[in-house]
């Protein structure tokens, strides 16, 4: 009994190892390498300010698969007051796997009244898309969504 169990574990370990190796081969074969998250984290901090990001208040309602990488719809809503002393000051859009991940940044005054945007962007390949907001008091909010691309765009 004990021996059988040991064998099963070993075999499972072998398959797991093979699966990982397969994934590595796939990753190596897709041209543009997947950018390390830490690199984009640093870019976000550079544009939006450093600090912890609360994953709330921001909705990115883009479809999970973009038909055309040259034209990816990015509809964004932010559920946050826009009052004189309490408002969203800026919003940045980042695509981790684009040759240049920083896409756009918006600055707002409270007069906008509500943050709802739609922009169309280029995506070179499947990627995390990050939308990060900063309040006037320096608090960071955001969302991250994985979007796949049926047909790649020549992204900037």
């Amino acid at each position: 009994m004990r021996q059988l169990k040991k064998l099963a574990l070993t075999r499972r370990g072998f398959f797991r190892g093979a699966g990982l190796a397969g994934m590595a081969v796939l990753a190596a074969g897709t041209g543009v390498p997947r950018r390390a998250s830490a690199e984009v984290d640093a870019l976000v901090a550079e544009h939006m300010g450093a600090g912890p990001i609360a994953m709330e208040k921001v909705t990115l309602s883009a479809p999970p698969t973009a038909e055309n990488g040259t034209l990816v719809r990015i509809p964004i809503e932010v559920d946050h007051p826009m009052e004189a002393n309490n408002f969203i000051q800026s919003l940045g859009i980042f695509v981790d796997n684009n040759p240049s991940p920083f896409v756009a940044k918006f600055d707002f005054t409270p007069e906008v009244g509500k943050i709802g945007l739609e922009l169309r962007i280029k995506m070179a390949k499947a990627s995390k898309v990050r939308v990060i907001c900063k309040s006037n008091t320096g608090k960071l909010f955001g969302t991250i969504k994985e979007i796949s691309v049926a047909e790649g765009g020549c992204a900037g």
């Binding site: 695509v95 040759p99 940044k105 005054t109 007069e111 922009l119 280029k122 992204a155 900037g156």
Partner: protein
């Protein structure tokens, strides 16, 4: 040949809206939005960057929003945004590209 550039369009609600309501402003401009990272397929040479870098939204004479765009924004960029209609007045959107050329379009918001 030359890409078409300009033809800025800004559209808001056609009719008067209640004061304080949130309206949607839709904008479109013809622009190649070349990132500067693409290569010409035939010559192999890099296609120079030519894209919008700055966008400013003015509402009733006051700047309410501005943006920095890179070449990762799509060609002929569509951009829509919400705006609280607090007063009747023009919503003027101005785009500037990396060659320093400016384009603008206006929509009138009317509150009742």
């Amino acid at each position: 040949m030359g890409e078409q550039v300009g033809n800025a369009r800004v559209r808001g609600p056609q009719e008067a809206v209640a004061k304080g309501s949130v309206v949607l402003i839709k904008t479109l401009i013809d622009h190649p939005m070349e990132s500067g990272l693409r290569k010409d397929k035939e010559s192999g040479e890099t296609i120079p960057a030519h894209h919008v870098t700055d966008v400013v939204v003015n509402y009733a004479g006051k700047e309410v929003m501005k943006a920095v765009w890179t070449g990762a924004v799509s060609k002929n960029p569509f951009f829509a945004f919400s705006l609280k209609a607090t007063t009747s007045g023009p919503v003027k959107v101005t785009w500037k590209d990396n060659k320093g050329v400016e384009f603008s379009g206006t929509a009138e918001v009317k509150v009742s």
